[in-house]
Amino acid sequence: MTAPSRATDRVLTVAAASTSLVALVMALAVAPPDAVQGQAQRLMYVHVPAAWLAYACFATVLVASVAYLLTRDLRWDRRAQAAGELGVGMTALAIALGSIWGRPVWGTWWVWDPRLVTTVVLLLVYAGYLSVRGLSDDRGTGARRAAAVGILGFVNVPIVHFSVVWWRTLHQPATVLSPDQTVLDGQMATALLLAVVAFTLAGWLVVRRRVRALALLDHEPEILDSEPVRPLVVTAQAQP
């Protein structure tokens, strides 16, 4: 690890930790409980940032996958993998928290809301994306397949979303309001913003560290790092 990347890590750690602390105090102590939903609404301060971070991760997977296919540089593949792993975890967290939040508020664990359906499809697509890496023993082959799925999966997301939106409006519209359609109180908005910043910084740090761990696994044998061995020359030439 080079010195600048250690320094960046340290700055990120301090920034993420301090923002998290402030966000935690804001979310639990300063921001008022929701007038309608009560204390359960405080789940928003984790649910929304988790969902935001998941989407940011999947966008990173798309960019890194395209970059990998264009450059064939495994560094891009490692970024895609690290972001994909964090994204899947954050999506699962967002869905689980949303479900726990929805139970007391909506009286049900699940509604067929377009955002929810799209998020679940994202979870399935990117779980598949991570599984594809295990299809082959060859590192480059796995990377190329994963990149293809990373691109195919992401471009499909808007179509998935709109098809569920139209499907939903065709039948009776959702009877419950989606959480962020409520107007947020100033302190709530500040707490939420801080939580989003804290998640983003922490996510960035996690991805950076994971990329380095993956790089160690990928460490290529010395034969490729060192001065190249003078190759054996064989020439086959037909004699007239």
């Binding site: 594809v132 190329r144 179509i159 098809s163």
Partner: protein, 215 residues
């Protein structure tokens, strides 16, 4: 040899092999026929319930057919060790299009079979807009099946992943196909969405296909 001639040669080889062995027909047709009969048992026998679930049954069946057909794109070639010779003989683009044409034809026939079975067994004749879904929905799914079928078959493990990859990505085809097959639903927005879905998946599958062929 021009790309079009290569596409024709690949497609012709696919049809010749299918005529000789009936691999796809034998694996897909009984499977989706059983699917429709079992769906009728699960949702019926009340005629109103059957009529309500008919369109969804058609597209669920086409979606699962996309999985079985996807296994035949490269899986059988690799099992018979004919994949290397095929890849060496044809460029990636024509190989994709030739294979895609065969998969599209298979899915189109599967859609026809399912539609006919559902129309009779569920007593629910589809509206005219169902044909649009039959053409473009099967094209979008065929693109997915072709690209992902090659992706999974050229691996050494986890062949069962194909279903896990195709089904979530097939969601728009399922929804748009179901709406276009349901009578009295405004067809235009769904027809646009289905065509868009097919165009996007076709383009992206074609673009990533050469990377999938590399080993």
């Amino acid at each position: 040899m021009s790309p079009a001639a290569q596409v024709f040669a690949v497609a012709r080889r696919e049809f010749d092999v299918e005529r000789a062995g009936r691999e796809v027909t034998v694996t897909t047709a009984p499977y989706i026929a059983a699917f429709v009969v079992l769906a009728g048992l699960a949702f019926g026998p009340a005629p109103s319930e059957l009529a309500r679930t008919a369109a969804g049954t058609v597209w669920l069946a086409v979606l699962v057919a996309a999985v079985t057909v996807g296994h035949s794109v490269a899986g059988v070639e690799i099992a018979e060790q004919s994949w290397d010779l095929l890849r060496g003989s044809v460029d990636p683009g024509p190989l994709f299009v030739g294979k895609l044409l065969a998969v599209w034809a298979a899915l189109g026939l599967a859609w026809l079979l399912v539609s006919a079975l559902v129309a009779v067994l569920f007593a629910a004749p589809p509206p005219g807009s169902a044909v649009w879904a039959g053409v473009f929905g099967t094209l979008g799914l065929a693109s997915l099946s072709t690209a992902l079928g090659v992706l999974v078959a050229t691996g050494t493990r986890r062949r069962g992943l194909l279903a896990a990859l195709i089904l979530p990505a097939g969601l728009p085809a399922l929804l748009a196909g179901t709406q276009l097959t349901t009578p009295d639903v405004p067809a235009l927005p769904w027809a646009v969405m289905m065509a868009l879905y097919a165009a996007v998946l076709l383009t992206v599958s074609w673009a990533v296909f050469p990377a999938l062929l590399e080993e």
